[in-house]
Every structure is written in C-alpha cells, then in structure tokens.
Amino acid sequence: MALATDPARLTGADPMVPRFMALRDIWDDTDDTFTMELDPGPGGFSFRPGQFNMLYVFGVGEVPISISGDPSVPGLLLHTVRGVGPVTTAMRDLVVGDLIGVRGPFGVPWPVGLASSRDVVFVAGGIGLAPLRPALYHVLNHRADYERVTLLYGVRSPRDLLFEDEVSEWRGRFDMEVGVTVDTADRKWRGSVGVVTKLVPRAPFDPYGTVAFICGPEIMMHFAAEALVKRGVRPGRIHLSMERNMKCGIGLCGHCQFGKDFVCKDGPVFTYESVHPRLDIREV
C-alpha cells in the first residue's frame, strides 16, 4: 500500500506521526525565501496564528516552520521558508505534487484575543513577518475589535522585502499604519533607512493600552522590546516568538529547552516579561 493512501497515516492522531500532504504550489518571495502551499485534504487544516508545523522532507530531515497563511482559510496551508540549511534547500527543490510530511500544529499562539479593544503593534524583522502574518490577518479580519493597528517592518535591503504587494496594500489602508525600514539602500529607495527600532518612537499608538507582537532575529526582538518599553508599553503586553532548535515539537526531547521552558510546547510565543531575564544569559 502506498504510504500516501495508508488511512492510519492520514489521520495524524499520533503527534509524532506525520500526515502526508501534497505540494499544491511553490513560489519565490525573495532571493532566498519561498512559500509552499500544501494540500491539507478535504477537512482543511485548522491552526491558530503563531503556531508552527514540523515539515518533513523525506530522506533529508524535519524542520519547524511557522504557518504563514490566513487562519480563517483552513483549506489554504502556507509556509514561508528561508532556504538556508539542507532540509529547507531540499524543500525549494520540491515540485508540485510532491509529498511532504506534516506534524502539527504545535505551540502557543499569538494571544490575539488579549489585544482586543486595544492598540496593536506588530514589529517584524526579516522573515519574522511570516509567523506574524496569520495574526495580522486575524486582526484585519476582525478589524472592528481592535483600536489602532500598526506594522513596523525592518529588512536588510529593499530586495529582501517579504510579501511586498501585501505590505503595499496594507500601507494603503486607512485603518492601519505601516512603517518599513531597511538597513541599507541606494538612492532608488524612497523610504526609511535604519534599524526597525527607530520606527517605534514615532509610531501612532497609546503605549499604556498597547499589545505588541514581535518576531525576528532574537537580538532584534530584544532591542525592539526595549524600545517599546522605553515608549511605555508594559513588558507583560509585549509578546515575542522565540526560536530554538526543535525536534519533537511536543516537549519530549528537550532540544529546544530555553531555561525552564520548552520553546515548542511552552512557546514559541512568550511575553517579554517572562523571557527578558533569560535573554541576557548566554548559556540559555
């Protein structure tokens, strides 16, 4: 019996057993980043913003990848991936129709409910926009439930801008503020140059009621969180998505241990208040 049609394999009841999904589409977002659209089957794939899947390229390996699509569209399962290691490089070589192993969804989601009736600030760095996008979709799909919505996005250079068309579209909305900055640019770039933290002081939000979601390289998240705290946002209302080497995805193997927590099970989303003391400890 072919693996793909084995009913036991398709149920996904055991979190350690991958479900097989066919690659429905794949496209490049930037020079080194691509998005895969998987076919989750007739029932679709339910997830919450900020959760991730363990994606298995057969014969190569398994990696944790955040879901980057709209949680209100369960039939469209998207993962945005940066091709940097053997598994993600092999992923980019897959073609439509190829099967991939999927375990998940795993992890603590972005607490979008906590942000209800408050100003919401998203701070994204580089590919960190991908794990934030489902939360952005959720907030925009329920726009009336939130006060001011701001996205601050920093990337290395203009050519590294992720979801460029969508970011432009968001920028054109009257009910959302978008700030984009790049680390370096030539004169063709008309926007801001500098690190993403420089956008925080001028962003339109009331710090005392704001809930912030940050995703990007750890050092960038640390500085962004500090900039938000300096502006007056409470550390307990700043949420960030941590990244560690995850293997099992369910808190058994210990690969992703981060102090007292396992990032796969207790995270990846944590409050800045809870992780702040650990960010300065190099052994953690």
């Binding site: 940066r82 580089g126 290395r156 640019a185 004169r187 008309r190 801001s192 001028r202």
Partner: protein, 153 residues
C-alpha cells in the same frame, strides 16, 4: 508656519530645557525650507550649524566610489542632525539630502559652542542631549553592522 520658539518648545530634543536656555537657542536659530532632492549639506563642507527637523525626511548619504551614493540612515521630524559643528575641524562627514519637502531650524554652531563654554549648565544640557542621540545612533549602527537578517554565512 511655526515660529522658531514654537518649534524648539515642542521638539522632543529640547523637552524640559530651561526657558533661558530655550530663549538663547531661539536667538541663534534660523528657519530652512528645502525642496526634495536638494542637499542641506555636503560631505567635506563647513559644519557651521546643526539641524532641528520638524517636517519632512532627510537621507544621510555617503558616496562609495563606483557604487554611488548609499543611504546610511534617514531622519525625520523630532530628530536633530549634525554633531560635526561641535568638534574641529567642523566639517560635515556625510551628505544630507531632502527626501521630500523639509522644514527645519538651523542653529548656529559657533554661537552655541561659545555659549556652552560660558554657561556650563547650558553646555551640560546640550552635551547630555547630544550624548543620548549619539549613543542611540551607535547602538543602531551596531545592530546594522551585525547584519541580523543575514544568513550568517
């Protein structure tokens, strides 16, 4: 159009500064209006003032030989531009180009320097505020140097 006094009073850089210090700064400020793509200062030029931006954005650029001009950073309303007026040889290190219509105040460097030497309390206030801007800028530059969004290869 805002008066120099209104601009300096509202500007975050001068928040909390004493009235007599503000009055002096107003006396050495002159308004500047710059059209898009015009330069406010050029690399190597005489740095005889610093700029207090309150409208528009400005690119700080460095000419990198055959690669042309690279934008090092952009600055906007609420920020101040220029430290070269403080230390010899008082020459701009970069180009400053308006990205859009820019309105700012140009504060005379020599007058401010002399007043800092005469009134140490005023001098301390100015140095403390510029120190904060310089530290902030240094931290941001360090982050840029880390290339945190790179692949690490």
């Amino acid at each position: 159009m805002l008066s120099p006094e209104e601009v300096l009073h509202e500007h975050p850089f001068f928040k909390g500064i004493k009235d007599q210090h503000l009055a002096f700064l107003v006396s050495v400020a002159r308004p500047l209006h710059i059209e898009p793509n015009h330069f406010m200062f050029r690399q190597g030029g005489s740095a005889d003032c610093f700029l207090v931006l309150y409208r528009g954005d400005m690119a700080i650029e460095l000419h990198v030989g055959a690669k042309g001009a690279r934008i090092i950073q952009t600055v906007g309303p609420g920020e101040v531009v220029g430290w070269s007026w403080m230390y010899p040889p008082h020459r701009w290190m970069y180009d400053g180009r308006a990205l859009n219509v820019v309105d700012c105040l140009c504060l005379d460097g020599e007058s401010v320097r002399n007043h800092m030497a005469e009134d140490h309390e005023f001098g301390f206030e100015i140095l403390r505020r510029f120190g904060e801007v310089i530290v902030e800028s240094l931290n941001r530059t360090r982050l840029q140097l880390l290339d945190v969004y790179g692949t690490g290869d």
